[in-house]
Amino acid sequence: MKQRKELNVNGKIYEVFVEPWRTLLEVLREELHLTGAKMGCDDGNCGACTVVIDGKAIKGCLMLVPQAKGKKILTIEGLGSGENLHPLQQAFIDHFAVQCGFCTPGMIMSAKALLDEKPDATEEEIRSGLQGNICRCTGYVKIVEAVEAARDKLAQKSNPL
């Protein structure tokens, strides 16, 4: 039966009234109308639904709403705005790391969690860190390029000389 749940998404507290077996992805999309996270497989194998929860990249289709209780959820909608893009978002544009764009929000969120944890991630680390995110369009080359560019940009910011 439906239950009242609180979710902390992009710094805002939302109250939803949903069945406890709903996935976080469903609730983000259907109840909160945050459709940036996409459903590509619904079984944890594509990464299109990735959001960042307490600093970790998590597949929204694998988490049930009760499991998100008390956690800070960041979705692509909370990452940057049109005027104020996150360096990853800017790098994805600049380096043509976007084609159809269906993998993009999940890819950026995974990369965000990765760079937060390993600000100096090497290409190898980026490749293994993002291997749970599938892209069928780009062959990944420009995605790696974009993540490396964002990494360098972020390093400059935190260490302005």
């Binding site: 993009t104 980026i126 490749r127």
Partner: protein, 788 residues
Amino acid sequence: MSSNKFPTPTSVVGKSVPRVDALDKVLGRAQFTADLQRNFPGLFHIKVLRSPHAHARIVKLDTSQAGKLPGVRAVVTGKDCPEKVSFRAPRILALEEVIWAGEGVAAVAAESPEIAQEAIELIQVEYEKLPAVFDAEEAMQPNPPAIVDRLLGQYRGSPQFTPEAPNVTGHFKLRAGDVEKGFAEADIILENRFSTSRISHSQLEPASCIVRAESDGGIITWTNGQGVYVIKGLISDLFGLAVGKVRVINPYQGGSFGSRLRHYVEPLATLLALKARGTVQFTYSRQEMYLAASTRLPVVTYIKTGAKKDGTIVAQQMKIIVDNGASYAAIQDGRMAASGAVCVYRIANFFMDSYGVNTNTPWAGAYRGLGTPQVAWAVECQMDMLAENLGMSPIELRRKNVLRRGEKNAYGEIIESIGVMDCLEKVAQEIKLEEPCVQEPGPWRKGKGVAMGGKQNTPRGHSEAEVLVHEDGTVEVLYSADEQGMGSETVMAQIAAEEFRIPMGQVRVRRGDTAITPYDTFSASSFTTYNTGNALRMACQDAMRQILQAATQKMEAPLDDLALVNGKIIVKGSPGMALADLFEPFSIFTPQGGASLKKGTPVRGRGVFAPTPAIPWDPQTGLTPKMWNWYQYNACGVELVVNIETGEIKILQGVFAADMGFPINPKMCEGQIEGGFGMAIGASIMEEYIYENGLMTNCSYGDYRIPTFREMPLRRNVKAIFSPDPLPEGPWGAKGIGEGTMIAVAPAIANAVYNAIGIRIKDLPLSAERVLRRIKEKEKNDQDFLHN
């Protein structure tokens, strides 16, 4: 085609300007079909009951329990479907027999996906299993073990249908020169058989649509299917709806690669929307994307090549068998696939038969290259084998036989634009093909290989485009081709910006709504830049002419002395005037009609482009001066390692050269190359359908593995090279690129594997399992040889 007068070097076209859709996509704001569901409270959700059997008679089908479940709005079976069938879509639901494991038997629309699923499970169905045929070579025989589609001949009215070969959907013959004589002159004859597996497009966004039944009997469809007008035509035709009451809208599409060219969700959703008299949504699960969406045509190719000692190919005979699966949709004679063998080499004596065949397997259709990569797989492995037999370098052999511009191919077409040999030379140089690989101790063996190929462009359909030029100089571009990720919106914006000499930021693209944007077919055969791009140039020039016409009076100058550049009318030898000043304000005291331009009223330019039609070929010989339109070409070189203990292959380096004509946006062309290369790695070494009694058993991303970051070489080891041979009638000389980028990869990989371990593998994929099996076989043979 003439461009803007007073030509200046291009300012936007040919430049890697950022994609116009990128900002929305990185913000998570770009709308895909399923994202729109939130706009429809009270939406019904569709689920389908699918057959577990590859071929069976439906003895009993009882949906009464499902219909009674609270929350269920409508239940349909094959009996509720329109009798009409269309080439554009597979049958909506099975009628008397199911013909592949995964075919839909019944469908439910309910208030929630869970209720719909529960209802599906309440449907009772009894099957009587029938013999099935899975192998195309078996299926094409007279008296096959099963007839896949009993109605094939009947409803297709196919002239090529014969009761003697009831699973053969078509047969194309090419008879050029005298092949007997050619083989008689040959010093060496080489015969081989090659095959490719069934693979899935696996585009990331599942097929999805929303259909709203309107109160006047019409419908509105939001869909990620390709070709809004094609869908409009299909739906109105299937359901007998007034064409003017069917509206189709196309949000962004999350990849397609040909998958969305046939429409497998819209017809069923329409059926249920009409029955439910409401709005329904139908989104395939990932499993359904494998079982009941399009797949790539598996192809078996027999090839026999005769050559002189100096490498000149004097005769070639081929038999190409294209497995359509249980397709009601893709009636084919294999002609498209077979074109891959005709467009690269000069072969005067060419005898070729291609067949389309139905089997009781998931249906197949267009897939990045429409069969040409599967046939090039055979041709390009054969070329390397021939080179080895002749003791020649693979480059030299290809150089000797490649078609050159102005020459005729085996159809009899004169080739206008062909950059294929340049592509190969560049690739071979870059990968240092002549330098042997340095082997390291351990189980990994290094090898290099190359291959090349071409893809025809089908002269299909016609494209329209419109521009609205506003008084402030901003331009709206209206068109209906697809945006499945390849960047058509950006290319169109670039073309308009170039024609009007305005910055990209002043162009807004509006796309894919049959009530707003003008006719187009769909984005296929890599023709969007060429077809729609040409139409758009005409639309820009049409608007420009109207504006300059209006300016002739104001400026008191003849039309020929005027040009529109970046919002200004320029007259030869004068300072000119602002575009805005041409638009007159009006009130009830001024003439409000008339020819002058009015404030608030954009100038509407219109362009229509249709490719020059093909010239019908002689059905007995396949000969014609024009079968296709133009060809894109490419070559690939790879360096890889093979693990002789596990059979695993790792691609270390990939170099890819493309002749796509003039690149309108070089970075996006690079993106097509890298994306095609990645996809082809999957097709070459990883992907295949695995079945049990015809039922696919690996239908998830977890089990049907597609390339991840791990399978791609390091980014500095992937290189894209442009080697364009511009096409005079393409926009600024552009051709197309999307499909060609897969063709040369698989044979380059197989040639490199041979180079590494001396084993020639003729069946795709080169999975670790298959490679290891072949290594073990070879070891055993070598030992047997030693012991004897």
